[in-house]
């Protein structure tokens, strides 16, 4: 066994499937908080556990223990909100804005519950000093969890304002009406603004989020297609991404990268680099980097370093990786099990043997790169032992932990801030660039900015896991699924369970070794599991000669999936005659993370060349009540367009620990000419609470296209990407 291959899961394939309760932190004392935000009204949202804990501490305090009781800062705050004397409303959340426009939709949710003008709300996001602990922005959790929490905070704030007005006017709070940032008394026609109510106040309240919220059907601000907050700053180039920042005296950093994954330094000579004016060389074990007053000098200094690398033993390449995965299953580790059903293999084996028709197949998904257009960037500044870092990450608190561990300082000494970034798609959960920038800054004794090059981003970040999925299945002529056995090697658990009614059922995830860093990705494992399942379902329907739509409808058990499948089929015109020979129709559907999706695709395949054209796509999506239809449409459309890359042509090519295509000139991403007409159907369920939408909309895309290609040609494509050169062998 090659010891340099990753044997432990550095980044869980599915972080969002971890159910460990996060350890909450609340660094700043409430008095400090008052200094930061000034006088006014503050509302903190506590968890039930925190209330119990506080009461416990209070009792301890009363009995002479050391608990701080009511004076202690609450340890389990998930969000808070402040209303200033000016009427300005500031909301603090650890979530971050990465292009999903959550800054806008969370502010809408607050404006709704608080009955305040949308423009009066400012979101402070992803600052480990100012915002409550948050595990990270991933897993499509911001809308269902943070959105709900903020609505509760805002709702309590609104009640607090009503109470203050009632007291001031000596009337019953119940008869007062909050609207547009004012409390109004309909009987006397008096009104008072939130700012006026906040004047001279040092009011704070900590509450449980249990009071009723405004029903989505009654929303007036939420549910509206508002544009991106601060949109003007983005179209004028004024917004400062981390890569745009500049601090006084700031140096530019570059890091020496190994020639291949896992290679170590055999010999190194940094004298020439060190002799360059203004250059500092920082070496710490195998970490070597330089800083310089400008980028060009930093790049020249890096080039001037003479280094010989000691490579690792032979590693798998993109051709033999799939055999490698199955040959290197890790037992006893994390992974296997969650989705495993009660059925044992005897039941599956006998069900398979009894089935009227059998179908076994293997599906593959390649490593793909997130390739966010803004590569990793960080600015680090030491002030004594206090470390300030600005970096683009989906997990500011996670990065703070990485920094504290890397530099052996307490987390309180580290502040991570996250200006709205040039996106991540699940690819920026980690803090490697922040740690490097901080190490360089420490060595140089000056603030340092480190921006990864595109090649570094492709090679040294992490990929969506490569994977193999085996399915064994049985079906009867009447369309009954009698057996379903799925084994997923390395790509992950998410979406592994079939939504179709089956007899014997096994679905298991097997963690394997893998040759590069791998981690989260928009849609991640569900994209792979949906691809395998929905392709396989199509083939089963073909085996028994049942209509592809009917076969799914017959076996689907969830009405919400049926509803989106119906909606997509209706919009697409499923069952209508194909416009010409060589055209094929395909569909696919599923549910994950509270979202329900169905795609239909039409392709045209040239019979001579095998060249595939995607003629049109329809995607129907439902995630409960819609908070911002414009933002949602943008997410659904964008997700499908990004998904086209992984479905059709994106793949990391690698050999012996080296990425062979770490550039946009060699790694093809979807561009204007790749985009077919896409119709988005949004199903708005005002009777249901909202769920997230960042990931699920792209999950049924690849199989819908694969199924259409099969419909047109009879050729089943079982590997993602399906048509790297744009053609299918006919």
């Amino acid at each position: 066994m090659n010891k340099n291959l990753t044997t432990e899961v550095i980044l869980e394939p599915e972080r969002y499937e971890l159910h460990n309760p996060p350890v909450h932190h609340f660094e700043i004392d409430r008095r400090d908080f008052a200094k930061i935000v000034g006088a006014g009204i503050a509302v903190f949202l506590l968890s039930k556990g925190a209330i119990a804990q506080q009461q416990g501490q209070q009792q301890q305090g009363e009995s002479g223990g050391r608990g701080g009781g009511g004076q202690a800062a609450p340890k389990d705050i998930s969000a808070w909100l402040h209303i200033a004397e000016s009427g300005a409303i500031t909301v603090f959340t650890g979530k971050v804005e990465i292009g999903q426009n959550i800054r806008t939709s969370l502010a809408q949710a607050v404006a709704e519950e608080l009955r305040a003008p949308f423009d009066s709300i400012t979101m402070v996001m992803g600052d480990t000093r100012l915002t409550p602990f948050d595990a990270g922005t991933f897993g499509s959790q911001s809308t269902p969890r943070m959105g709900t929490q903020l609505r509760h905070v805002a709702s309590v704030a609104c009640d607090t304002l009503k109470d203050l007005a009632a007291k001031q006017w000596s009337v019953d709070a119940a008869r007062l009406v909050p609207v547009a940032g004012k409390i109004t008394d309909p009987q006397t026609k008096r009104s008072i603004t939130y700012g006026q109510l906040a004047q001279g106040q040092a009011f704070e309240t900590a509450v449980l989020g249990e009071d009723p919220l405004i029903a989505p059907a009654d929303w007036t601000v939420a549910g509206k297609p508002l544009g991106k907050v601060d949109g003007r700053d983005f179209v004028t180039g004024r917004h400062k991404y981390v890569s745009d920042m500049k601090l006084p005296g700031m140096q530019y950093g570059k890091v020496l990268r190994p020639e291949s994954f896992g290679a170590t330094i055999a010999s190194i000579d940094v004298t020439a680099a060190q002799a360059m004016p203004g250059v500092a060389v920082v070496r710490d074990g195998d970490f070597v980097g330089v800083t310089a007053p400008d980028m060009q000098t930093a790049a020249s200094a890096l080039k001037a370093i003479k280094v010989e690398w000691k490579p690792t033993a032979q590693q798998p390449d993109s051709k033999n990786i799939y055999d490698f995965l199955k040959a290197n299953v890790q037992t006893g580790g994390r992974g296997g099990g969650r989705a495993q059903q009660a059925t044992d293999t005897t039941a599956i084996d006998s069900a398979l043997a009894a089935a009227q028709h059998r179908l076994d197949a293997t599906y593959k998904v390649a490593f793909i790169a997130h390739a966010p257009l803004e590569p990793r960037a960080a600015v680090a500044q030491w002030d004594g032992d206090q470390l300030n870092v600005w970096t683009g990450t989906q997990r500011p608190f996670g990065v703070r932990g990485e920094l504290a561990a890397a530099f052996h300082v307490p987390e309180e000494k580290v502040r991570v801030q996250m200006p709205d970034m040039g996106s991540g798609y699940g690819g920026k959960h980690t803090g490697e660039c922040a740690v490097e920038a901080a190490r360089l800054a420490k060595g140089a004794g000056k603030p340092v900015k480190l921006t990864w090059s595109r090649e570094e981003e492709f090679s040294w970040a992490y990929f969506r896991p490569v994977g193999v999925i085996d399915i064994r299945s049985g079906v009867n002529d009447d369309g009954t699924l009698t057996a379903w056995e799925l084994h997923n090697y390395n790509s992950g658990n998410s979406g592994i369970d079939t939504p179709y009614k089956t007899g014997a059922h096994v679905a298991t995830f097997h963690q394997t070794l893998y040759p590069f860093r791998q981690g989260s990705y928009r849609g991640l494992a569900a994209t792979a599991n949906f691809f395998a399942r929905e392709s396989h379902m199509d083939d089963l329907a073909r085996v028994i000669k049942m209509d592809l739509f009917t076969f799914r409808m017959k076996n689907l058990q969830d009405d919400r999936i049926k509803a989106v499948l119906q909606a997509a089929a209706d919009k697409f015109g499923w069952g209508k005659t194909k416009p010409a020979a060589g055209h094929g129709f395909g569909l696919a559907c599923g549910a994950e993370k509270g979202g329900y999706v169905a795609n239909c695709a039409e392709v045209a395949v040239d019979k001579t060349t095998g060249s595939v054209k995607i003629v049109r796509l329809v995607v129907a999506f439902e995630c409960g009540a819609i908070v911002n239809p414009d933002g949602l449409r943008n997410q659904v459309l964008g997700g499908n367009i990004q998904g086209l890359g992984g479905a059709l042509f994106e793949a990391i090519e690698f050999e012996n620990g080296r990425v062979l295509n770490p550039k946009f000139s060699k790694y093809r991403v979807p561009r204007f000419q790749d985009i077919p007409p896409i119709e988005v159907v949004l199903v708005d369920r005002k009777d249901l609470q909202p769920a997230g939408a960042g990931e699920v909309p792209l999950m049924a895309l690849a199989p819908s296209i694969g199924n259409a290609i099969c419909d047109a040609t009879g050729v089943r494509l079982r590997a993602l990407p399906m048509i790297p050169d744009g053609t299918v062998k006919v």
Binding site: I98, G99, Q100, N101, P225, G227, K228, G231, R232, F234, V235, T236, G237, R238, H239, K240, Y241, S243, D244, K246, Y252, D294, M295, Q296, A371, P372, L373, E374, P375, D420, M421, G422, S423, Y425, T451, S453, R454, D630, G631, N634, Q635, L637, G638, G639, N640, I641, Q642, K663, F664, S665, V669, P670, R671, F672, Q673, I675, I678
Partner: protein, 172 residues
């Protein structure tokens, strides 16, 4: 499209014309224009995305023509005038293309937006009323990883309408 410094010898460049004004700079002639804009002049609206002219996040106009500033050396600019995203807004009024991107919500993370807008401005200069196909062909070099392409096409149509309406209005 992009130009490399033709001369073998590296000289010092001390002045450059950007957005209608002269800037003093101190750069070796082989320094990329993008680096000068971002690091020396703090005109950070133009973005680094690939360093090989493949994503167009760094697009600026040189004498009105779109150029990849990441692979254009500052020495190749000479007295030509550069327009960056920062130079489009006039007296607090957005350029019609900027306004159209806002109106259409034609962005997500918006890191590509400056480059998209600059390319679109160049397109509309050469073709006041482009078809879908013409927009798609012209903009093929611009990458939006968030996938807002259809909205960008719509925004360019919007801008074309606004600009031709105001041109007609101006003629009256």
């Amino acid at each position: 499209m992009p130009t490399q410094t033709p001369e073998a010898t590296i000289t010092k460049i001390t002045e450059i014309q950007i957005n209608g004004r002269a800037y003093k700079i101190d750069a070796a002639s082989d320094t990329s224009l993008l680096s000068v804009l971002r690091d020396q002049l703090e005109l950070t609206g133009s973005k680094y995305g690939c360093g090989e002219g493949q994503c167009s996040a760094c697009t600026v106009l040189v004498d009105g023509n779109p150029r990849h500033s990441c692979i254009t050396s500052v020495g190749a600019i000479g007295k030509k005038s550069i327009t960056t995203i920062e130079g489009l807004e006039r007296d607090g009024k957005l350029h019609p293309v900027q306004q159209a991107f806002l109106d259409e919500g034609a962005m997500q993370c918006a890191y590509c937006t400056s480059g998209m807008i600059m390319s679109a401005v160049a397109l509309l200069k050469s073709n006041a009323n482009p078809s879908d196909a013409e927009i798609i062909e012209y903009m093929q070099g611009n990458v939006c990883r968030c996938g807002t392409y259809p909205r960008i096409v719509a925004a360019i149509h919007d801008a074309a309408r606004t600009m031709s309406a105001s041109a007609n209005g101006g003629a009256r």
